[in-house]
């Protein structure tokens, strides 16, 4: 049974039949552009035998929706999808039995079409809405309920139009940024130059002038904000207040080279076995076995990356007596509620948090923090709705990044080209800074604004994540059958920037390292890279995924000036499998031009094929952007990547043709797929660059400068 069901075992927590002919489906997972609500609606419609347009996906809010933790880790289909499937099946059986009693017929004689239950024997019928409209079921979900056989699916697996798409393309106000309740004030926050600075002095006369102009100044310790009815006046006031603040810089950010720091800084080192870190001494790297033919070592590196949501984070907050209502695009409303209640010394019931869409976030971006900023301002201006928006600069400079990482790999081959020894050590800061409140008090430390208020929270001190395939050790464990791999995670202390969860966590960097290094080994062994992978895999689905990719990528011979490369992984060694192939060209000015990508994905039973393809395409494009362009830069005085010029990303002029091959597994469990493509994509690009230039790119980003430097050395 999934955690979601264990926590919310009752049918009424997930489903309701309304008197007006709809089925309300409650999920704790939020739609962040990954089309989860489209897939969940299809599952509910399928199990209940109603048409899709009868399904209403309920707003996700505390106190009403199931608590499903955070929408992350590609878990939504496995958690919520499975819960809703069983809820639908339980409800269907309940309704059949109820109808049978009411119509005085055998349940087996009943058939359902769009909620109409009809007896084949008597032709009498009753529909869901008459039978159950607006009434609670008051039964638990049966974890053993008989679900539909895939052969009988009518909705699941069909092409579907994403819910809400028409609203998006016609510009309807669906984002939290668009909210506009009566009496609302716009607000902006004024941040210090960097994390460690605190307010030294504030020019009081400047504050007075701002107040006289009709804009409120809200100050709590080093947390500064302005609020007013006219948004542009607020924007200007924020600039004036920033100029009026004198910050105590407290030393600034550490400026040592991050890749050196990952070698020399203090760190917590733990061996990892079967995807789980062990509290044991790290074994020494043994000498290669005596009879090996070759031993190779390499160090791969990636810098800090940002989520870079296209819309800066925003939230609306309003107090009502002792209560605070917050409208937010947070991915984890219950997690946020617990942390914030603790931080503000409030009862959890007094915080009511409602999910409203924001721009795509791909992990823990500024969503939770801006909700806290808004709540702080709302608390200072009781009863007034406060729409607080971060600026582009706020988002770029203050969101928690994906940590820089380094991967030191070593492997030995025997005379037949088999890997007989494998070691990988991965280094980096934490990915695990979502505002989870364990131990108590920790949640508040992870909410950025609470560190700046009077008597604010201390900076959090990350502890090594110990669960299966999380953080730095996500996909550290290769799926390949290497004898006794030596795997070590190193949580490095004293790195300069704030970090947390970004799509794939350490998976992107680890798979980049493994899959590039496999190409190095294959070359040393004189074996084709596809063949080299296949011979070290014993999972048939993995092999089929690689083979499907290879069949398509290598179908035709490539143009002379192009290179091809591949990468493969099963996300967390337990979710979707994906192999990625890339065909690219390196221009005379050392720029990488992407021509073609082929992605094969096995995500188990396919529910929403087009949604799955989109997630794969989006994952590829974002990974290509990370690989080719992205690097958060900073100096002693703070982050210097503060806009899209100083933090460039992939644009329309370098989007390849992308072919996605879905390997459907009818009846098999859904496997989360939102993050499966990223790691293989990064590796495939590096391998393709090697194929055409002979340059091994072991540090991202692969900019023209990096390619030129590699060519020189």
């Amino acid at each position: 049974m999934t955690a979601s069901l264990e926590k919310q075992p009752n049918l009424d927590q997930w489903l309701a039949i309304t008197g007006d002919g709809r089925v309300v489906v409650r999920s704790g997972k939020v739609d962040i552009g990954q089309r989860i609500s489209t897939a969940l609606a299809a599952i509910a419609a399928e199990e209940l035998d109603v048409s899709l347009d009868r399904i209403a996906m309920a707003t996700v809010e505390t106190g009403v929706s199931p608590d499903e933790g955070v929408t992350s880790g590609s878990n939504s289909m496995q958690d919520s999808g499975q819960a809703i499937r069983l809820a639908g099946a339980t409800a269907r059986r309940y309704l059949i039995n109820k109808a049978a009693a009411q119509l005085d017929v055998e349940p087996a004689s009943l058939e359902i079409a769009d909620g109409l239950i009809r007896s084949r024997d008597t032709n009498r019928s009753v529909n869901y809405w008459e039978l159950q409209g607006d009434q609670p079921f008051e039964v638990p979900i049966d974890p053993e309920a008989t679900v539909k056989a895939p052969g009988d699916y009518e909705e699941v697996g069909n092409p579907q139009t994403a819910r809400g798409l028409a609203d998006l393309v016609t510009g309807q106000p669906i984002f939290v940024h668009d909210m506009n309740p009566p009496g609302m004030l716009h607000a902006r926050v004024i941040r210090p130059p960097h994390y460690h600075a605190r307010l030294h002095a504030l020019d009081e006369s400047a504050c007075e002038r701002i107040e006289t102009s009709g804009v409120r100044v809200v100050r709590d310790g080093s947390h500064l904000a302005v609020a007013g009815a006219d948004e542009y006046a607020v924007v200007k006031a924020a600039e004036r207040l920033a100029a009026a603040a004198d910050w105590d810089m407290r030393g600034g950010l550490p400026t040592a080279d991050i890749f050196d720091a990952m070698k020399t800084n203090e760190r917590v080192s733990l061996p990892v076995a079967d995807g789980i870190p062990r509290r044991e001494p790290v074994p020494d790297l043994p000498d290669p076995p005596a009879d090996v033919a070759t031993t190779l070592t390499a160090r791969y590196e990636k810098p800090y990356h940002m989520h870079g949501s296209l819309g800066p984070s925003a939230a609306l907050a309003q107090t009502d007596g002792d209560k605070i209502h917050i409208w937010t695009h947070s991915q984890g409303i219950y997690v946020l509620r617990e942390a914030l209640a603790g931080g503000l010394g409030m009862a959890e019931e007094d915080l009511h948090i409602v999910h409203v869409p924001g721009a795509g976030c791909y992990g823990h971006n500024g969503a939770d923090d801006v909700a806290v900023d808004a709540a702080l301002v709302a608390r200072a201006l009781p009863g007034t709705p406060i729409l607080l928006k971060w600026t582009r600069e706020d988002e770029h400079a203050w969101e928690p990044y994906s940590t820089c990482m380094a991967m030191a790999v070593q492997a030995s081959l025997d005379a037949e080209g088999n890997v007989v020894a494998w070691s990988q050590e991965s280094y980096g800061d934490t990915f695990m800074m979502r505002p989870r409140n364990s131990p108590p008090g920790e949640g508040a430390r992870r909410l950025l604004p609470l560190r700046y208020i009077e008597n604010g929270a201390e900076d959090p001190v990350p502890q090594p994540a110990m669960r299966y395939h999380v953080g730095i050790h996500r996909n550290l464990d290769p799926l390949y059958k290497f004898p006794n791999p030596r795997l070590v995670k190193n949580l490095v202390r004293g790195l300069p920037l704030r970090t947390s969860a970004l799509r794939t966590l350490g998976g992107f960097a680890n798979v980049y390292a493994i899959e590039c290094f496999l190409d190095e080994l294959a070359e040393a062994a004189g074996i084709d890279p596809v063949e080299f992978r296949l011979r070290h895999l014993d999972d048939d689905r993995a092999k089929a995924c690689v083979q499907a990719l290879a069949d398509s990528l290598f179908k035709d011979s490539k143009p002379d000036n192009r290179g091809r490369g591949i990468g493969f992984a099963q996300y967390t060694n337990s979710k979707a499998y994906s192999a990625v192939g890339v065909e690219l060209e390196v221009s005379d000015d050392a720029a990488i031009k992407l021509h073609r990508a082929v992605v094969s994905v096995d995500a188990g039973q396919v529910v929403d094929p087009d949604g799955l393809i989109m997630q794969s395409e989006g994952g590829f494009i974002q990974a290509a952007s990370w690989a080719l362009h992205e690097e958060v830069k900073f100096d002693r005085d703070g982050v210097t990547s503060r806009d899209w010029d100083s933090y460039p990303i992939l644009r329309f002029d370098n989007i390849p043709e992308i072919e996605t091959i879905l390997i459907d597994r009818p009846g098999d469990p859904y496997l989360g797929a939102g993050e499966a493509v990223s790691g293989p994509a990064g590796a495939a690009i590096a391998n393709a660059v090697y194929d055409t230039t002979g340059l091994r790119l072991r540090r991202m980003p692969f900019t023209p400068e990096a390619l030129r430097a590699a060519a020189m050395s």
């Binding site: 809400g164 006219d230 795509g360 600026t391």
Partner: protein
């Protein structure tokens, strides 16, 4: 405060505000048209694009006073009687949005491109969308939507 006269989606409007206010704030707040989005406020991302006399313009920096007397179309104004127009339908057909935050700007830019050039080459498209960022990676779908429209001979019913 000063008055600016604008025609927005076919309706004459007189707005009374600080003349330095960027057009985007006037559209979103004064006129309550939330289609154009604030993405950067720096003319770097395309989320705020609108049409001025049919030409795409970024609205997040330039002051409303610069647009006095001009004819502005926002993404809302492209729909016909509340129904999506051809470009919007093509975006739906190709699922050319994930989170959709970039979408208004892309619909606007695509509309302008196809009006000028009903059968754009890939280079033409790249140039027209050069200012537009999408972080979800919906690019492939946007390109397909444009191909679909080009195949239909551009979009007739704008």
């Amino acid at each position: 405060m000063a008055k600016s006269k604008l025609t927005v989606n076919g309706t004459a409007q007189e707005v009374d505000c600080d003349p330095a206010t960027p057009l985007l704030y006037v559209l979103r707040n004064t006129l309550n048209l939330k289609g154009a989005k604030f993405g950067c406020g720096l003319e770097q991302c395309g989320a705020c694009a609108v049409l001025i006399d049919g030409e795409p313009v970024l609205s997040c920096v330039r002051a409303v006073s610069e647009f006095d007397g001009q004819n502005i179309t926002t993404v809302e104004g492209l729909s016909e009687n509340g129904e999506p127009n051809a470009v919007q339908r093509a975006f739906i057909a190709e699922s050319a949005a994930q989170c959709g935050y970039c979408t208004s700007g892309l619909v606007v830019a695509t509309t302008a491109l196809l009006k000028r050039n009903p059968q754009p080459s890939r280079e033409d498209i790249n140039e027209a969308l050069a200012d537009h960022l999408c972080r979800c990676g919906s690019h492939v779908r946007v390109l397909k939507a444009i191909d679909r429209l080009a195949a239909a001979g551009g979009s007739h019913d704008r």
